[in-house]
């Protein structure tokens, strides 16, 4: 029996759709394989899935070989967001979806052993990928719903648990998509705790700073300790124009992929200001591996 669900994998700060194909009965009896270049977190899903399904009251097909393919098979899959679509695929193989296909909705979510859905990284990028692919909806963990709902032209559902996801598939009419007013969210998020007025004197430096911000120039402050150089630099975001929605979305995507969105924050509305220590190495500044680091967002 073969069942397919759709999910997404993060690549840089973008996400690309992934087909999660679950096959029960074709492999050798005790085998449970996940293929498609999964990383360790994805491979560990195998250990989690049996407990999750059992604790939610679903049967894991013990004794029948299970093969899960994450397509496209030649791109590396990372993260724990595949827990939910894989579990849904196994539930689907047992006929619990009464013939419904899950080809118009994307699912993301890490699952706890008791079946609770946990937050994932990159939900915003995944929602953008789902919209661009023409999917009708995306279902994400509740903690990620605000960032995903910023994306227009696609329905976004919040999920708390695996049984709730099964209900969403079987009776979508009893679920309301989450709507956020992106502009309102942006306005609320655009609050700074510092002001240029905090800096006394320094009229020349403030004028230079204004010119730098107006023209987009880089600026170097030279002076003795305590003169106010860093104070001035920290107040640069407060004199720049408010971020546009596109800029806010791009900034939020980077934070989402890096896992640094606070709480259930939907949008980042303040321009990122980062102040790395002067002894930081090039690799530390740019980022080791393929994860965004200081120069991108810190």
């Amino acid at each position: 029996m073969l069942f397919k669900t759709i999910s997404a994998s993060v690549y840089g700060i973008d996400a690309y759709p992934v087909e999660v194909e679950v096959d029960v009965g074709s492999a050798r009896m005790q085998d449970f394989n996940v293929v498609g270049l999964p990383d360790n977190a994805v491979k560990e899903s195998r250990e989690r899935i049996k407990s999750q399904m059992h604790n939610c009251g679903y049967e894991f097909p013990h004794g029948q070989g299970v093969t899960i393919n994450l397509a496209p098979a030649d791109l590396r899959k990372e993260g724990s967001a595949f827990d939910l679509p894989m579990a849904l695929g196994l539930v689907g193989c047992q006929g619990k979806f009464f013939g419904k296909l899950l080809d118009r909705m994307m699912f993301l979510g890490e699952l706890s052993l008791d079946g609770t859905v946990r937050a994932v990284r990159g939900a915003l990028s995944a929602a953008i990928a789902a919209r661009d692919k023409g999917l009708k909806a995306v279902a994400v963990p509740e903690m990620n719903v605000k960032e995903a709902a910023v994306v227009d032209s696609i329905d976004v559902f919040a999920l708390k648990s695996l049984p709730q996801a099964v209900d969403l598939v079987n009776s979508p009419e009893s679920f309301q998509p989450v709507h956020v007013d992106a502009r309102l969210l942006l306005n609320e998020a655009a609050q700074y705790s510092v002001d240029l007025r905090d800096v006394h004197g320094q009229q020349a430096a403030k004028r230079a700073l204004e010119g730098a911000c107006a023209g987009g120039h880089n600026i170097l402050f030279i002076g003795p300790p305590g003169a106010g150089k860093t104070m001035l630099a920290k107040r640069i975001p407060t004199i720049l124009p408010p971020m546009s929605l596109e800029e806010a979305i791009e900034t939020t995507r980077i934070h989402s992929v890096a896992g640094t969105l606070e709480g259930a924050q939907g949008l980042i509305g303040t321009r990122p200001f980062r102040s790395p220590h002067h002894t930081i190495s090039d690799a530390g500044l740019i980022g080791g591996g393929a994860n965004p680091a200081r120069v991108k967002f810190r």
Partner: protein, 179 residues
């Protein structure tokens, strides 16, 4: 820092993949003028010898300094000024002027590709939009300005491409941009 400052993107290549991230940012750098920090400060004595200062300042590479358009001295603030209640403008007032200046730039460069601000101008555009007046030329020609003043460039070669952009045009187009 050179690739992001120059190209606005960073490419990280590893064995299996190569990923390009957007990396457009405004760099604000701060530095002391010497190892102890007090060179030129009237209220503290600087104990650094000229070779120490030279060694310290030369840690910043020329190419990096060249990519920073504006170098401004930030002298120590006098105690009286620190104690006085702040009578200067708040961020919102300054932001208003910055927004107005940016809108002028968008209008100015609407026929140019991918140029939205003065800092993004190519040398050809600088020649088009920033003709130097006679007085402006005198400012550029000076190697040193009084402390605290708006310094055009700390490097010679005022006629070469990038310096022309940064040293020649700045005094005029910045005041334009800020209006």
């Amino acid at each position: 820092m050179r690739q992001p400052l120059e190209d606005g993107s960073v490419t990280i290549a590893r064995a299996a993949i190569s990923v390009t991230f957007p990396s457009r940012f405004m760099l604000a750098a701060v530095m002391n003028p010497c190892p102890c920090g007090y060179f030129g400060d009237p209220s503290h004595e600087c104990h650094c010898t000229p070779p120490m200062i030279q060694r310290y300042v030369s840690k910043i590479s020329g190419p990096l300094l060249d990519r920073i358009d504006i170098h401004i001295e930030v002298p120590a603030v006098k105690y009286k000024e620190l104690r006085a209640p702040s009578s200067s403008e708040d961020s919102a007032a300054v932001r208003g002027r910055v927004i107005a200046a940016q809108q002028k730039q968008i209008a100015r460069y609407k026929s140019e590709k991918k140029t939205y601000s003065n800092a993004q101008m190519a040398p050809k555009m600088v020649r088009k939009h920033c003709a130097i007046s006679a007085d402006g030329g005198k400012v550029v020609g000076k190697r040193r300005d009084p402390p605290g003043a708006f310094r055009a460039s700390s490097r010679p070669h005022p006629e070469s491409g990038s310096h022309y952009r940064r040293s020649g045009c700045r005094s005029r187009h910045t005041s334009q941009a800020s209006k």
